[in-house]
Symmetry: C2
Subunit: 480 residues, 2 copies
């Protein structure tokens, strides 16, 4: 297959970048820090004599060419829905960039309906492009929606991404509301689409050729705390899988993005699941999932991004054929779809910055004010999972600060969306309990022993003031 069909408007990156208006609304491919366009954003960042004030919407996190280079060039004015690079984070927290944190599942609809942003240009990385189609690269993310919504399309064909990756893609495009059909996906391994994204041929204005690798995540090695959390989580999962009639013959699991999620997945092969089929239905493929596919623990892994480390990418790229039956990449509005997550009865495991006594979770804002990355898909899974687990260390590493607090200063997941909390200390199954019962369980099972006396003292004080969910608002952020 030719990477670039004949007669397409191939040009260099600076020429393509010149097509983006100074105040352009850019929709870019990319999710899990892979599959994002590289040459055109870099050319934009390096362009001289222009004053750029771009709006940039991506599927999820992207690499340094966008969230470092363009940010440091002062070219981004507005950014959605997620960012995970220090330069972008710093600019967002200094309020130099107006950032709106969005759930992943609804983003495609929001962009297509013009509710969040109406993009004028989509810049999309592809394995190959024809006159009215393209094949996405290492992530699919919201690229199908962005291509549909944008007036014009610039495609970066990246020869560093193996063409064989198309074997993994299953592009299904949900229709537009209010007259759309159900998403016909009823099993994690099912394929309901094709490898290509189609578009009207007049939309394609530019093709740029590159061979630049993704700059993906680096995962840290699991710590002893990670391993202790994993052991508690494994024990809970084994019990729940044995008890819950929904898991009588199969279990569909999701784990959140990041080093803790990667570490927790790494311990999954130790969970006794009997003869049940175990599948991963999540948003990203991280390195430890490759091991679980290799050793047969997982029957299939379905996601929207190959969010692998550079080593993980090498491992996959060298042997795509072997993984082609075990990995499916879908658009983010399918991978994160509340419809599908509920249908499949997913067990979701996501991390957090802190949890409060009544089960509300902060996963985005340090101190309630400084955003880290964004809510990402954690809300899609926590809300819609049949069982949602929040896994986190009881304390901030090396700081002696409790992650179990009286009230989180920013709520991403409400008390209604959190079934179970797991720390390295233990497990609190919050289901069916009133707030006061939940608080006791979280303090006694999940908090660090050295933090328990202060938490108990707060609870005593709060309970003296009465109410279903007792608080002492005067000291709630100054409780220790």
């Amino acid at each position: 297959m030719n990477r670039v069909a004949v007669d397409l408007p191939v040009e260099d990156a600076p020429s393509a970048a010149a097509r983006v208006p100074d105040d352009g609304r850019l929709a870019v491919s990319g999710f899990g820090s892979v599959g994002y366009p590289k040459a055109v954003p870099l050319a934009l960042a390096e362009s001289t004599g222009r004053t750029l004030s771009l709006t940039v919407v991506s599927g999820g996190s992207v690499g340094d060419e966008i969230d470092t280079a363009l940010v440091e060039a002062g070219a981004i004015e507005r950014r959605f829905p997620y960012q995970a690079r220090p330069a972008a984070r710093e600019a967002v927290n200094a309020r130099r960039i107006a950032f709106q944190d969005r759930h992943i599942a609804g983003l495609g609809d929001e962009v297509v309906s013009g509710g969040l942003v109406a993009p004028d240009v989509a810049v999309v990385e592809a394995l190959a492009v024809g006159e009215d189609w393209l094949i996405p690269s290492t992530s699919i993310g919201h690229t199908p929606a962005f291509v549909e919504a944008a007036d014009r399309l610039i495609v970066e064909v990246n020869r560093a991404q193996p063409l064989s990756l198309r074997r993994l893609h299953d592009v299904y495009r949900p229709g537009r509301p209010p007259n759309r059909e159900p998403i016909p996906l009823t099993a994690p391994n099912a394929r309901i689409g094709e490898s290509r994204i189609s578009f009207p041929r007049e939309k394609l204005v530019s093709v740029v050729e590159t061979d630049r690798r993704d700059s993906p995540y680096a995962f840290r090695d699991p710590s002893s705390t990670d391993r202790a959390i994993a052991a508690n989580l494994s024990a809970f999962l084994a019990t729940e899988i044995a008890r819950n009639p929904a898991f009588a013959s199969s279990v569909n699991l999701q784990f959140g993005v990041g080093s803790l999620g990667n570490a927790l997945m790494g311990e999954l092969d130790g969970v006794d699941v009997g003869d049940r089929t175990v599948a991963y239905y999540g948003e990203v493929i991280q390195d430890s999932l490759l091991d679980l596919i290799d050793d047969g623990t997982l029957s299939v892994a379905s996601a929207t991004s190959l969010a692998l480390s550079a080593e993980g990418q090498d491992r996959l790229f060298e042997d795509v054929e072997r993984y082609a039956d075990g990995i499916v990449l879908r658009p983010a509005d399918v991978s994160n779809s509340p419809e599908v997550i509920r249908r499949l009865g997913v067990v979701a495991v996501n991390s957090a910055l802190e949890v409060d006594l009544y089960g509300h979770v902060n996963s985005t804002h340090v101190g309630g004010t400084r955003v880290l990355n964004g809510v990402g898909g954690s809300g899609d899974f926590n809300r819609n999972a049949l069982v949602s687990v929040t896994a986190l260390p009881s304390r901030v590493r090396g700081k002696g600060v409790s992650r179990i607090v009286p009230m989180v200063p920013h709520v991403d997941h409400t008390e209604h969306d959190v079934s179970v909390v797991v720390t390295e200390r233990g497990v609190a199954d919050l289901r069916g309990l009133g707030p006061s019962e939940r608080a006791d369980l979280l303090v006694e099972e999940c908090a660090h022993p050295d933090d328990r006396p202060a938490l108990r003292a707060y609870l005593d004080r709060a309970r003296g003031r009465g109410g279903h969910m007792p608080h002492d608002l005067e000291t709630v952020f100054d409780w220790a």
Copy 2:
């Protein structure tokens, strides 16, 4: 049709009540304060010589026979997922009842999988019952799931509810995860089920006959503030409907439960929708919806409950045939399904207690501690709607207290789930804005003019401390 098939185990209410264990886990019909069982709960409340410690799960709110009589008898130990009577509220806030507030959409799955509670007895009001089927009465709620989950079934056949109501019912039961099919509903007026709920004949242990009316809501007359909110909402809806390509030919609306929602719906006929079809896809039918069906504003109203006032019930009951094509009643796991709400691109309008500067919404806990009713379906609609509107007065009536606050002390709907805020003062369209921009808009457009100086002063103080979402935690609950 016979109300009660021959050879069924008919008995009086005290005999049926004696079948409920002292520590029984009861799943009861009822939603929107109608369609709940009346005789058996009253008999339980009046039983002598028993010490009851019941767990009671309902679909939504129920009447005084349960949430007053049983509560005052001290018979309820644990209550899910919603309550709306003063006696229950008081007991919950005094922590005499352990109450867990739950979203409506997932409740059926939670009960069937035993995650929240595994009911031993379902007590269900019906229009009629056969040996392996029943027809629900004025609400469907989670009755299909409860009948499936419970070991035993007690049916109250209520002759005060007209048999003709069965014309409204469309009972579709989603399968059990993880191997279930899409919910095949693609339009608000579609019918995908039948009027009956089926069960294994051995489950039915008792039939009780009653003729006691529901004790439903009373709606207050719209205030001048309600009308001003409605005028601002109407202006926003007209603009959005004209702009949004999703609403090119039809609009599906939802309005929340209560007097404000009822008042807002009452003004809907004034919105210019061109020649678009307008349907209601929500969880309850309130009185003003009958007017909108009568005058042709709505093509259909789909919900899970006839949450009408007593007068509204009379009006409907006298003329069920006339409304039979315009009203569909569904199980709550269809009416509130994230799958269907997203598919249909619903515009959701829900009220709240207060909204904070960054768009987080408290709809349940006064002062962060005293629960009012519960989150109900507001989360199902706010999260999954294509456009979600929070409508509320700028101040607490008669108290001069702002409902726009620096930080809500309880979050039910996060910043990610709220598109637009409407008060009697104006409209804040928060889409695509960073937190700091959202705060300015809410203060200047939605807050009461007399509250703006103090809110601006708080914002100045908070911004001095920096961050993406600035706060001054020392004064955040003591800001004025």
